[in-house]
């Protein structure tokens, strides 16, 4: 039996008069790769921030691995779109950061960091500073930094949006293989339907004003998800179904805004 890793129950979140999320329920199973898909302003980032404990819900509760989230928690490791690497630390030191905070002995944490630096394909760059790295390399350091900290859940906030198409493709492949190796539960935000289809085991499409779940579907496309899969019948029909939902939502939002 698969157990629930993240439980979101009756969550609403408002910033003043701005109701970002309204009475939202969502269960994420252990080991799922959930992609949250939606136009900007649908509250998907807010939802991610609630899971990480950066924000507190106005109503309802968020639990991760059975524990209620009421402060920033390292149980949910976040990979930010802008990398958020510490510029004064080398790649090695960045990846060791979480372990150093836990007071793990030097030798032990260096060993773990090396393993994850190798996993993301950055062996040989351990002593470089972030400013010497390309965007794609920075994002891989950021992923290794979260992996080394061994969280229950990995949260990705549009991590590849700032990268060029080629780099994005390489990182998507790499993330899939990391997901398969580590078995982590992943919640990933994007507004690219293709990215969602390539990565996820499950997709949740969100609507805006206020943010809520409008479609929740399993993605059973076969692995490995190569470029050819994008030409398959299943891929295209899933994409069409999502596109229709998204279009309807965007149209509705525009009508509301105009009205």
């Amino acid at each position: 039996m698969t157990t629930s890793m993240i439980s979101i129950r009756g969550v609403s979140k408002s910033f003043g008069d701005n109701h970002v999320l309204s009475n939202l329920d969502l269960e994420v199973k252990k080991g799922e790769f959930l992609v949250l898909l939606g136009a900007s302003g649908c509250g998907k980032s807010t939802l991610l921030n609630l899971m990480a404990g950066f924000e507190k819900p106005t109503q309802g509760s968020v639990s991760v691995n059975g524990k209620r989230i009421d402060d920033v928690t390292s149980a949910c490791g976040m990979v930010f779109q802008q990398y958020a690497l510490f510029p004064w630390q080398t790649v090695q030191q960045n990846v060791e950061f979480g372990l150093k905070m836990k007071k793990m002995p030097k030798g032990e944490r260096a060993e773990i960091a090396r393993r994850f630096i190798e996993m993301v394909g950055l062996k040989g760059s351990e002593d470089k500073y972030p400013q010497a790295l390309s965007g794609g390399m920075k994002q891989r350091v950021s992923i290794a930094r979260v992996l080394a900290n061994d969280p229950d859940v990995m949260l990705f906030d549009e991590p590849f949006a700032a990268l060029d198409a080629m780099t994005r493709q390489v990182l998507q492949d790499q993330l899939l293989s990391i997901y398969e190796q580590s078995g982590k539960t992943i919640v990933f935000i994007t507004h690219s339907i293709d990215e969602a289809l390539m990565l996820s085991t499950r997709m949740v499409i969100m609507g805006s004003r206020p943010g809520r779940v409008v479609q929740d579907l399993r993605n059973e496309l076969p692995h490995p998800r190569t470029a050819e899969i994008q030409l398959s019948e299943d891929f295209i029909s899933l994409k069409r179904s999502i596109w229709e939902t998204v279009q309807e939502e965007v149209g509705r939002t525009l009508a509301v805004t105009r009205g």
Partner: protein
């Protein structure tokens, strides 16, 4: 059009220009004094200042004055920085702490270090502690304000990332805020160090038994204008020398920026 684009002067030839300008300045000074246009009691020529320097160096007093002032600056400045850096980081990030300390800081801020001299003399007497305290009082509040301002330069996303990786509040201060603000803190501290020199000289001008400020005041008492000028030259040289040391330290601490 061709002559508009001049080749850039190399660093070497520009350095020579600086050396020539210095020599020209010294020569003009010497000539004006020798011509008899200025009474040496008001302004002695460079040669006389140099002669005074070698005499005092021979007597062994010169180095003593330089070292006394340098030690006072270092002790006072380092004590001020050691308190101001952690306190400034804390005040920069905690609104509660700012609310508590704001009235005290607002009261201390406008006070020049000179205004502390009478009280410090009463409290400590004419001794080293009194000199340290003047340097401390003169540098502490400006240093604190610099550090508080520096904490604003940090990207809030880095603090968020650190917290997400499990850093506790004090760990965020030590591991993220301090190294992240270090470039701004160091450039602030360079200015504060200059300020510390002003403090020590004023303290020594008022009451001291050695030091460059004392040397200047003592020269004036005995109408030894060359001693006065020599003291001023030495202050300038010592400050320049400490600046070089600080720059080297800065390059070492901020190696990651290159």
């Amino acid at each position: 059009m061709a002559e508009v684009v001049k080749p850039r002067k190399s660093a070497g030839s520009l350095a020579w220009l600086s050396v020539l300008s210095l020599l020209g300045f010294l020569a003009a000074w010497e000539l004006i004094c020798r011509s008899g246009a200025v009474d040496p009691i008001f302004l002695p020529p460079p040669s006389q200042v140099w002669a005074r320097a070698s005499t005092m160096f021979g007597q062994g007093t010169l180095l003593g004055h330089v070292l006394a002032s340098t030690r006072r600056v270092m002790v006072g400045f380092l004590a001020a920085a050691a308190v101001a850096i952690p306190l400034g980081i804390w005040l920069g990030t905690s609104r509660i702490a700012r609310a508590i300390f704001d009235p005290v800081i607002s009261f201390l801020r406008p006070l020049p270090s000179m205004s502390w001299i009478p009280l410090s003399l009463l409290w400590f007497g004419i001794n080293e502690t009194q000199k340290y305290s003047i340097v401390f009082m003169g540098s502490f509040v400006p240093a604190l304000l610099y550090v508080m301002e520096a904490t604003r330069s940090i990207d809030p996303l880095l603090i968020r990332a650190a917290r997400n990786l499990g850093a506790q509040r004090w760990q965020v201060m030590r591991e993220v805020l301090l190294p992240g603000c270090l470039p701004q803190i160091i450039s602030g501290m360079k200015i504060i160090l200059g300020l510390s020199w002003t403090c020590v000289i004023s303290a020594e001008l008022v009451a001291a038994k050695e030091g460059l400020g004392f040397m200047i005041m003592n020269g004036k008492e005995f109408f030894q204008t060359d001693t006065v000028v020599l003291g001023m030259v030495l202050i300038s040289f010592t400050v320049l020398a400490t600046d070089l040391v600080v720059r080297a330290l800065e390059r070492w601490l901020l190696a990651w920026q290159r």
